[in-house]
């Protein structure tokens, strides 16, 4: 099936599909495929990083919750210290409670942020997956045609 119009090379590449032309097509697609694959892997890594960070935050959240509860169990007579480096710094009970609450809120906010981030990464990964699938199909088709011809 030669291109009768006898025009540029690309047409013959598409029409002829024999020998070196076939591998050229397949190679192109393959390269594209690899590029997309790398992008996908990067996205996956980002996703897992967000996941790990989020888990850490969750642990901190539970811990601070416990601190808050235990502070509630204590009364004013107990002196409260905060460890800053190697130093135990005396703190006020109310101050401590406020600090812990603020920290809790901050952690919750961070978790939400990471959640959003994860969702976006997930979406991007999904899109990337589709692209990959498409490319793979094309690649197989190209290969198949080449094989048929050959």
């Amino acid at each position: 099936m030669r291109c009768v119009t006898g025009c540029d090379v690309i047409n013959t590449v598409w029409a002829d599909r024999t020998g070196p032309h076939r591998t050229l097509m397949a190679d192109l697609i393959q390269k594209k495929l690899q590029g997309e694959l790398e992008k996908y892997q990067q996205l996956q890594k980002d996703l897992s990083k967000s996941m790990a960070a989020r888990q850490k935050l969750e642990a901190q959240l539970t811990e601070n919750n416990i601190v808050k509860e235990e502070l509630g169990l204590l009364d004013v007579t107990n002196t409260i210290y905060k460890l800053i480096g190697p130093v135990l710094v005396k703190q006020d009970m109310d101050e401590a409670k406020a600090t812990v609450s603020k920290r809790l809120d901050y952690i919750a906010g961070e978790i939400k942020r990471y959640e959003l981030q994860m969702q976006e990464s997930e979406k991007k990964a999904e899109q990337q997956r589709e692209v990959l699938a498409r490319l793979q199909q094309e690649y197989q088709r190209a290969q198949g045609k080449g094989a048929a011809k050959a």
């Binding site: 901190q60 811990e63 601070n64 416990i66 601190v67 509860e69 235990e70 502070l71 169990l73 204590l74 107990n78 002196t79 409260i80 210290y81 905060k82 460890l83 800053i84 135990l88 703190q91 401590a96 812990v100 920290r103």
Partner: protein, 501 residues
Amino acid sequence: MQAPGTASPLSAAQVGRLREEQGKVVTSCQEKIQHWRKVENDYEALQERLNTLPDKLSHDIMVPFGPLAFMPGKLVHTNEVTVLLGDNWFSKCSAKQAIGLVEHRKKHVRKALDDLQKVMKNFESRIEFTEDLQKMSDAAGDIVDIREEAENDGTETKGKRRTAHKPHSKPKVSDVFEVHFQENGMDTKSKGYSQSEEELWARLEELERREEMLGEFNRTPDTIEANGEDTTSSEEEKEDKTDLNVVHRVEDSTTQDNVQKEVTNSELFSGQVNGRSHYHSDDEDDLGVDHFVPTIFFSHTVEPKRVRINTGKNTTLKFSEKKEEAKRKRKNSNGNGHLVPELPNIKTPADIYRVFVDVVNGEYVPRKSILKSRSRENSVCSDTSESSAAEFDDRRGVLRSISYDEATYSDNSEGILEEEEEEGQEHLPKKLSTLSGTIEAFSGTVIEKEPLSPLIPHPSIAHPVLPTIPERKSEEVLSEASEETTKRISKFKAARMQQTN
């Protein structure tokens, strides 16, 4: 046969791997549980210590001095304890307060332990499940699949149609999945094992629901669906999915709620479908219940349930869907009090012959009339042809349809047949006696007319003076045609004509 969207068939290797993963989860759960138990024990010991500490003002102890040495020393201020609250927060508390804090922490530990226990149990049951699956697949060769299509035909209670369980809501739901064990090279049922245990329970519930539905049948099996090879499909159905293999296909026919249900119950993890043998009974009923593979198709007839139908005379009739319908129709059409509920309005004997028509070879054949031939000229009977006594037995085996409106054939027509025949036979014997009486009376008459049909060899040919009572055999088209061409003449007239000739 897999329904669309089936999970990929599981191989034994996959099942094995699944089992492994589940085992891993369980072991990790166990480790965590152990860890938390240790923590709890530590806290208990701590509480003990805190209890004894304030007993003395100072304790003599051996103080650790670096990693390798101890030094005698004293423990003072025994009531003052600095407690780490978490996240770099400390607080100075009394021993009692410290004990309270420890107790509070133990609560958290116990909660974590409980959660882990639950997860472990969950996974243990899943493991059991997977192991069963494996066993089934291994032992599949020993198990034979017996298939019997279960057809629930109008086993009703009191004839009321329950709309709650209309099968319209579930068209063509097949929720069986098959486990294909491909290394055996056999066509087994595939099982989408991605299902969780929740789906399993949901599936169980659905099955229970369906069983209830089966018990409340109100459908007429119109057509019987032959049970195909693989009636099972994957679990990918519209409803809940479980890991059970149950085929439940519901087909709706648009006519009058006639629904045929084909229920096949198959076991879990069916094996291969080798060498299925297919048995059919003589009846057209196909009842099938799926079990393992290889399959034996079994079907048996369904006895029509004897249900008391209150026809106003406390008559117990054999229940059949046809009768139900007829009864319904009668009620709907302002039926009068009749002896037999399924009969339409019959006020005259002529009505009977109008109603009770036999169908021979697809044509309507009226029964023998007890009416005199003369009156039959103006009668309402569809045809004056009658069969001989010998055909009684033939008729018995013929499918009859009661209602003239519907040409539906029921597999329970036997029930109807019996009922009809009880009726018909009241008349037929009369016809017989009439016929025999006439035969005796005119045994010596001359043949006046051509035999209506040369194809009908029967004594009635010897009595052409009774042209209105021709033979009726399977080749009736001719006879009918010839009958219709022949004029009806009463035997007396014929005799008179004969004498005049």
